[in-house]
């Protein structure tokens, strides 16, 4: 039984009980518990099922490296899958459910996979589910998806909010153990601006658990004291529950702060993602203990020796009354000593080293613990719980010498520095033979923009294996970082701690070393993904020589823990199988984040209303109050139509079209881009930007222009007005304002930098209202002010003046074929002007119309729309716009490209009108078919629909489309197959359906 001890528990507040639920059961824990320690205290050793074989799994570690203890946490809007029990702080009301079990954790049907495991070796899926191809989608994948998998996907919208924070520091110290604290202190004392982050809620790391003494005081006291010093420094910021998640180029780092996970609260962000620019980064990230590979090492009750010690010291929890310790190094003896001193039984310490351990081993023996050198575990007995271990000689093949009853096993295969953050940005590693681990190569640090080193490791993360070395290394790291940032190193000696001289470690990659297949196929390397020693060996045997390939073939290291426990052991087995040295095989790539971070934190504030900026015109509120049916156009919201009571969208659109054609329509055209181009070379510049001539436009006149990319494709269009001698105003499409402004600036800044031209994007300075319809002039005359008669303001002219008391710039241009004035007024007065137009226009049935009516009005007139008739592959010639291509000019953007063979190919599809033979409306994007089939056996095509509407004016469907040889085929009927198997026929006609002579606009 795992249980709560009467002594120990340095992180607990034993006076505060906390209740929580696990799989529907109400349990009690203590304030300060993690979910893992609380479950263990309740004898809940079984916490989940493995990914592939559904084997019973208990917690194996005590920190971020935990592979097994994963739960679904919370409910509804706060539900989160794959939460690690070891890093989940307990709070009152916490609810957790174990994952990957059916129907229950104790009785799981999927465990049948376990008995079939010899038929499911590495690469099983790849080999088995190969053919026939459709079976993957319809049979195999659904089956595997049901059987495998960990947490459930959340179903509800996330109830929490998140935020970012931008921080700028000289030195970022990641890790709040004694190395991080000391490194931060040294850098801080030098005067550097320091930020120190620690992923857990507690400072000091392992030192207090391991009984370290620093400067003659217990580690806890030194930590408290040092923390106090850091808090008193104005130039030092410290944050706990903040994990250094990733290190990126140029000293950029992400830190993940968990504000309310331990104490849920409303209205406070749950997570805060720190986006840090650091001059230097010190990674004091500690080390992770390696498991040992022996048969049955995944049975609940087998744990890392350090974790067993953590649970006892930090949380007053014992994993069992009788714990067998198995090790290849001295450190694990601390666990035996700790448990023994807590009054628990250590039946035996199995030390795989023939000559055993050093001083700590002597200490254990002195406490009366049996120590067996050169011995190993042949296999662990038990199903959902350890019951005994078979003992054998490490040097042999696993003949059982003795069976010892126990209910827990504490294992240690040595320690590996946490090199993840060092490696994220290119720091290289060295293989340390003595410690059998990779450690950072200080001569190959991540490099900054100037080629300077910008990451330094500190403490055991550097490979410093005892406290004295850790503190010396950290002091130096802090000083070095500060000096690199231009500060003077403080005269500070490293705090004193006892150096240790442990007996050398013996690399043990499998136990016993001569284990046969049967044992090897029960030795787990990756607990979460069920990868065993035999799987890696099989991969090697099948030719997977690269560690990256073996990783993907066997799935080792691909679980949510990203191989924190399995990687080194796995690649050692691979190296052994390939007869290579371990460093020759190398590691897989370390990628951020260090442990998973929430998607919410990455999104930050960008959710709900703040998901994206919505650009609103000065008439947005009026639209909201008057039934606007919104559509996004770029980042703008434009009214598609304004629905009145009981109207459908379609009815509203038709009403708006007819009102405009028959009397008076008002359009919010404020979103149209308005770019001012001024300077002595502005005319020359615009002649290059537009396909037609703009330099010869007379003051007071307007001209419709086309813009192409340098590849010849049509990219934007709009009306250009000449303001004065050296100033033009260029209107762009709604979505084009920022893009075209940037396009202009790019050419000005990179190609024609010596041309004297300034541009300003004045789009938002003005609200623009199109006053459209037979009564357009009448309503303006009623408002009074400037002369808008045909004589005073002709078609394609503009004038400045006052209308109804408003300063206005009036453009007589028409995108509807009606008499039309586009009137620009200052944005802050646009709403008032709009209201005045409605008031004055009431007698003319003034009707606000939206973008769909705008589209229909222009389509009835055969005007093209950028984005409908164009899609990035269309040139003006395709659209019959030859008249807008100046022949007088030597050059314009796109001219050369339009002369290429493909562009002048007579087989390019051309713009025409399409009129269905039955008056119905063609679907958008429909293709017209031609005779025969292409090389892929598909029906040949000869055209497609680019714009299509029901025209309320004409009472029938109208469309524009691009058709092969279209303009030459007027009157011909072509065939458009529909998705439902029927087809529509349409006659090729002129694209101008309404008022082809232009009588209505020219009045």
């Amino acid at each position: 039984m795992s249980t709560r001890l009467s002594t120990g528990g340095r992180l607990l507040d034993k006076t505060k009980q906390v209740t929580f639920q696990f799989n529907g059961r109400r349990l009690r824990g203590l304030q300060g518990d993690t979910l893992a320690s609380a479950l263990l205290a309740n004898d809940q050793m079984l916490m989940g099922r493995s990914f592939k074989y559904h084997r019973p799994r208990g917690v194996v570690a005590s920190g971020a490296e935990e592979p097994n203890g994963l739960v679904n946490l919370g409910r509804g809007g706060t539900f989160e899958p794959n939460a690690r029990v070891t890093t989940t702080e307990l709070f009152d009301g916490l609810t957790a459910e174990s994952q990957n079990h059916w129907p229950s954790l104790d009785f799981d049907v999927g465990v049948l996979n376990n008995y079939a495991s010899r038929f499911m070796p590495a690469g099983f899926y790849y080999k088995t589910f190969m053919a026939p191809a459709p079976a993957w989608k319809h049979l195999f994948e659904p089956l595997i998806r049901r059987a495998a998998g960990l947490g459930k996907a959340p179903k509800d919208r996330d109830a929490d909010r998140y935020e970012h924070f931008y921080a700028f520091v000289d030195v970022l110290v990641i890790g709040g153990g004694i190395a991080g604290l000391q490194g931060a202190r040294a850098a801080g004392q030098a005067g550097a601006k320091v930020m120190l982050v620690e992923q857990t809620a507690h400072w000091g790391g392992r030192a207090p658990v391991d009984g370290v003494e620093i400067d003659g005081q217990p580690a806890d006291a030194w930590v408290k004291n040092t923390l106090q010093q850091l808090e008193n420094m104005d130039n030092v910021t410290i944050r706990s529950r903040t994990m250094g998640a990733g290190v990126y180029d140029h000293g950029y780092a992400l830190a993940y702060e968990r504000l309310t996970d331990h104490a849920p609260a409303q209205d406070i962000p749950r997570h805060r993602l720190w986006r840090i620019r650091a001059g230097q980064i010190i990674t004091a990230t500690g080390a992770i203990e390696r498991p040992l590979a022996f048969a049955g090492n995944d049975i609940p009750g087998v744990m890392l020796a350090s974790a067993v010690r953590d649970y006892a010291v930090n949380f007053a929890v014992s994993p069992g009354d009788r714990t067998v310790v198995v090790t290849n190094n001295d450190d694990a003896y601390r666990t035996a000593i700790t448990l023994k001193q807590a009054g628990l039984e250590i039946p035996v310490i199995l030390d795989a080293r023939p000559n055993g351990g050093g001083a700590l081993a002597d200490q254990a023996r002195a406490l009366g613990v049996r120590v067996e050198n050169g011995k190993a575990i042949a296999s662990v007995k038990g199903g959902k719980r350890v019951t005994a271990v078979d003992i054998c000689a490490q040097a042999g093949e696993g003949s059982v010498l003795e069976t010892i009853d126990c209910d827990a096993v504490a294992m240690s295969g040595g320690w590996s520095p946490v090199v993840h953050l060092w490696s994220h940005c290119g720091g290289k590693l060295l293989w340390d033979e003595g410690e059998a681990h990779f450690r950072p190569n200080p001569d190959a640090a991540p490099k900054g923009a100037q080629g300077q080193d910008f990451v330094i490791t500190a403490g055991i993360a550097s490979g410093a294996m005892d406290s004295a070395a850790v503190l010396a290394d950290a002091t130096q790291a802090g000083k070095t970082a500060a000096v690199r940032m231009g500060h003077i190193a403080p005269d500070m000696a490293a705090p004193k701690a006892d150096a240790e001289e442990p007996a050398p470690l013996l690399p043990v990659w499998k136990m016993p070393q001569g284990a046969g297949y049967k044992l090897r196929s029960k030795m787990w390397l990756d607990f979460q993904n069920d990868v065993k020693v035999s799987d890696v060996q099989l991969a090697a045997q099948e030719g997977y020589e690269s560690v990256e390939h073996t990783k993907r073939y066997t799935t080792i290291g691909m679980a949510t823990d990203q191989g924190k426990l399995s990687n080194i052991n796995g690649l050692a087995i691979l190296a052994d199988s390939l007869n290579e040295a371990i460093p020759a095989v190398g590691t897989t790539t370390f990628r951020p984040p260090y442990t998973p971070i929430s998607m919410g934190s990455i999104g930050g504030d960008a959710s709900g209303d703040l998901f994206q900026p919505v650009n609103q015109t000065p008439l947005h509120q009026w639209g909201s109050d008057n039934g606007a049916y919104w559509e996004p156009v770029g980042h703008w919201r434009r009214a598609y139509c304004y629905q009145r009571d009981g109207e459908t969208v379609e009815q509203a659109v038709h009403r708006e079209v007819l009102a405009t054609r028959n009397s008076l329509g008002l359009l919010d055209a404020s979103t149209l881009g308005k770019i001012i181009v001024k300077g002595p070379d502005a005319g020359k510049f615009l002649d290059m930007m537009y396909t037609n001539m703009m330099s010869n436009l007379k003051q007071g006149k307007c001209r419709y222009g086309l813009m192409c990319t340098e590849n010849g494709f049509l990219t934007d269009d709009g009306v250009v007005a000449r303001i004065d001698e050296d100033t033009w105003l260029c209107h762009t499409t709604t979505g084009g304002a920022a893009r075209i402004h940037a396009h202009m600036e790019e050419w000005l800044q990179t190609e024609w930098w010596d041309w004297k031209v300034y541009t300003v994007n004045a789009t938002e300075q003005y609200g623009q209202i199109a006053v459209v319809g037979p009564n357009a002039r009448a309503v303006l005359e009623k408002l009074g002010g400037m002369d808008v008669s045909k004589e005073a303001l002709g078609f394609m002219e503009w004038k400045e003046g006052q209308i109804g008391g408003f300063d206005a710039r009036v453009f007589r241009i028409s995108f509807s074929g009606e008499l039309s004035f586009e009137i620009a007024v200052p944005a802050s007065q646009t709403r008032a002007f709009w209201d005045a137009l409605h008031a004055a226009g009431a007698e003319f049935d003034a009707t606000a119309y939206g973008t769909e009516a705008l589209h229909i009005l222009r389509a009835e007139k055969g005007f093209i729309m950028i984005g409908d008739e164009t899609d990035g592959t269309i040139i003006p010639q395709d659209l019959g716009l030859h008249w807008a291509l100046s022949k007088k000019k030597d050059d314009y953007l796109g001219k050369r490209a339009q002369q290429r063979i493909h562009m002048t190919d007579p087989d390019r599809w051309q713009l025409v009108g399409l009129e269905t033979t039955d008056g119905s409306t063609l679907p958008d994007g429909a293709y017209a078919v031609a005779e025969g089939v292409n090389a892929n056996g598909q029906r040949n095509t000869q055209g497609r629909v680019t714009s299509t509407y029901h025209s309320p004016t004409l009472g029938k469907g109208i469309a524009m489309g691009l058709v092969w040889n279209g303009p030459e085929r007027m009157g011909e009927v072509i065939n458009f197959p529909m998705l439902d198997g029927t087809s529509k026929t349409a006659k090729i006609v002129s694209p101008v359906f309404y008022d082809p002579e232009g009588k209505k606009q020219n009045v």
């Binding site: 504030d605 609103q616 001012i676 300003v760 004045a762 789009t763 938002e764 007065q829 008032a832």
Partner: protein, 191 residues
């Protein structure tokens, strides 16, 4: 000008910092060679402030000049004065390559001010990739940057008071962002 209204008509919110839309402001985009004597003189004579250094804003009462780019200044004056100042600047730039244009209506202005509860600097540091520490962002500084996904410019007008300018069409988004980031309880506690 009785018809003129600012984007959000003076809306405000209170959290650990206050956010207030500052109403209409005269703003003029002035483009030209910063080293040209006529431009420098126009700024000092017509606007009445010193020519600003890179990433700074010079102020005198309600008038200010902010550095926007190597050939662009933002001139701020009372809203009603803008047309007249544009005309005078344009006249002063006659003969040189320059551009003065009234952009008062294209923008919205917000004030973000700290309270006893927390610092306005933190509100901005949650949203803009800018070092907002007191040592780095001093009074008189002025930055063009982004606030989450919106283009903005802001400057320090006091130790813990900032004036922020955004596009008029994005005023609501910017106000909502600032208000959310200033919510009580979400202080970061670093400034």
């Amino acid at each position: 000008m009785s018809n003129a209204v600012s984007a959000l008509q003076g809306v405000s919110s209170a959290g650990f910092a206050t956010v207030t839309e500052a109403g209409l402001r005269g703003m003029i985009t002035l483009r030209g060679d910063h080293n040209a004597a006529s431009l420098r003189q126009a700024v000092t004579d017509i606007v009445g402030v010193d020519m600003p250094e890179v990433r700074r804003c010079t102020r005198a009462g309600e008038r200010a000049a902010a550095w926007m780019s190597p050939d662009e200044l933002l001139i701020m004056v009372p809203y009603a004065d803008a047309p007249d100042v544009v005309a005078r600047l344009s006249a002063a730039l006659e003969g040189m390559h320059g551009l003065a244009v009234n952009m008062s209506d294209a923008r919205a202005v917000f004030m973000v001010e700290g309270t006893a509860e927390g610092s306005a600097r933190e509100v901005l540091a949650k949203l803009a990739p800018v070092d907002m520490s007191r040592a780095a962002f001093t009074q008189g500084m002025f930055r063009r940057t982004r606030l989450a996904q919106a283009a903005v410019a802001f400057g320090a007008v006091g130790d813990d008071a900032f004036e922020l300018i955004c596009f008029r069409s994005e005023a609501q988004y910017v106000f909502d962002l600032l208000s959310m980031s200033a919510k009580s309880g979400s202080q970061v506690g670093v400034f």
